[in-house]
Symmetry: C2
Subunit: 271 residues, 2 copies
């Protein structure tokens, strides 16, 4: 099953796709849909496939957006870190997010803006103190996110937050594919292209902490709730680790793609 949010009839609306049938639902986004116990069967209006250019961020204003850092072996190595014993977790808020075809807004105060293609998971049920099996059951599904990072601000202090939360820098979507249809541990290709040049090409089989491990770990200290998002980290190939270093130029087209889910296609525009 695929869940998404689309601009339609002058508003936004969630949709569900299953067995080739698209059903438009009487809620404004997937976030509102997940507050309904009957979200899998909620009645709606069948219609044509949504226009890809009209797709919005699946959840319009999520609150809790956690991000794992240093979670691929080759990425930890390229930035000079040992294989971590524990997941590194930082956060975003909704102001940082944009939809799958929206412009990414390039901060005028930085010249070191980098790409980070990532698989993100979306929580489907309230979870705390879960083992890996329980954590796996709490995962609603998977989506694509690019943790576009403002490296100079990220490195100003030990805490990366201020390099990760610039308004309208983090595209995500285009849809959430439910967990029964995808197995990240078996390996999904993760790719990032900048102006048509492939910059990252990894596989989720190389995640250090699997999706279930991340959810289990986080649930040890905090309650996760439906609609919460965890971005699982980026594979090798970021601009920071290239020799010479590379950054996103203003005007570039950034494409972020994960096998079995879809792609984000965002123009990076001046602030």
């Amino acid at each position: 099953m695929r869940l998404g949010t689309v601009r339609r009839n002058g508003n936004t609306q969630a949709f569900r796709q299953e067995d080739g049938v698209t059903t438009y639902l009487p809620v404004r986004d997937v976030g509102e849909l997940l507050t309904r116990e009957d979200w899998r069967s909620l009645a709606g209006e069948q219609g044509p496939e949504p226009d890809p250019a009209a797709l919005q961020a699946p959840i319009l204003r999520p609150c809790k957006i956690l991000c794992a850092g240093l979670n691929y072996y080759a990425h930890a190595a390229e930035v000079g870190q040992d294989v971590p014993k524990y997941p590194t977790i930082f956060t975003k808020y909704a102001n940082a997010l944009v939809g799958p075809t929206d412009d990414v807004v390039m901060p005028a105060a930085s010249t070191r803006i980098d790409w980070e293609a990532e698989l993100a998971l979306v929580i489907g049920s309230t979870v705390r103190h879960a083992d890996e099996a329980g954590a796996r059951e709490a995962i609603l599904g998977y989506t694509v996110l690019n943790d576009v990072s403002v490296r100079d601000w990220q490195g100003r202090t030990s805490e990366w937050f201020q390099g990760k939360n610039w308004d309208r820098t983090t595209p995500w979507g285009p849809v959430i594919v439910t967990a029964d249809e995808l197995d990240p541990e078996a390996g999904l290709a993760v790719e990032c292209e900048l102006d048509g040049v492939l910059k990252q090409s990894g596989t989720t089989a190389d995640l250090i902490f699997s999706c279930a491990k991340l959810v289990s770990y986080v649930s040890e200290f905090m309650t996760l709730e439906p609609g919460d998002i965890i971005a699982t980290g980026t594979p090798a190939g970021v601009g920071l680790a290239r020799k010479p270093r590379e950054w996103i130029p203003v005007g570039a087209e950034l494409v972020t793609r994960i096998e079995g889910i879809g792609e984000l296609r965002n123009r990076c525009v001046a602030e």
Copy 2:
């Protein structure tokens, strides 16, 4: 003016206090109150002073809770850090919060749980790219927060998040005092007591980055909105920096007090 939220008639309700008069307002908390343009004059029902034991967290489910680290000269020194050039910012979510007299829940997975008395500011108007004067105008008021920290988890990775977000560990309140009535730069006493023993005694005059500077700095990268909270950092005297180190024992009473605002009084109970 003081704003708060109280348990009343089987529900929660915001109140406003001005010139000795308490007005109970037709909204469930200060967060909902701040969504009303007329919040300063919104009509309500006059009544007696609220029962201190019935006070709730002023905003029941805030989304954006930013925290400054290393923001007092003496505290930066006691943990071995230089005076920072930039504010260190990390985050919390609402799951971590409790009200001014609620129990603090001590994580069973840690034996290194520490206190951090802090002045917190609450944003009153949407703000981005503000200079210090503009930032000052965006501050609705001030409250008290104790950033109870799970030190072993905080130190597992570079990112402090996982030591700062355990469910129900961060008391705050008891009220928000509006900015026209308090001047943190002139110096407000900040105190933390554990079982009646004074552990921290600082003054907000020693903040490295003032409240207006913090808001201005954060607004450079992200939009702040009404109801967002910034905890401004803790003065010297935390358990981590004591010789020998000290931690909060299960069962302790934690009191956190700021001059001109009031106090939190929380029992620290086993999970």
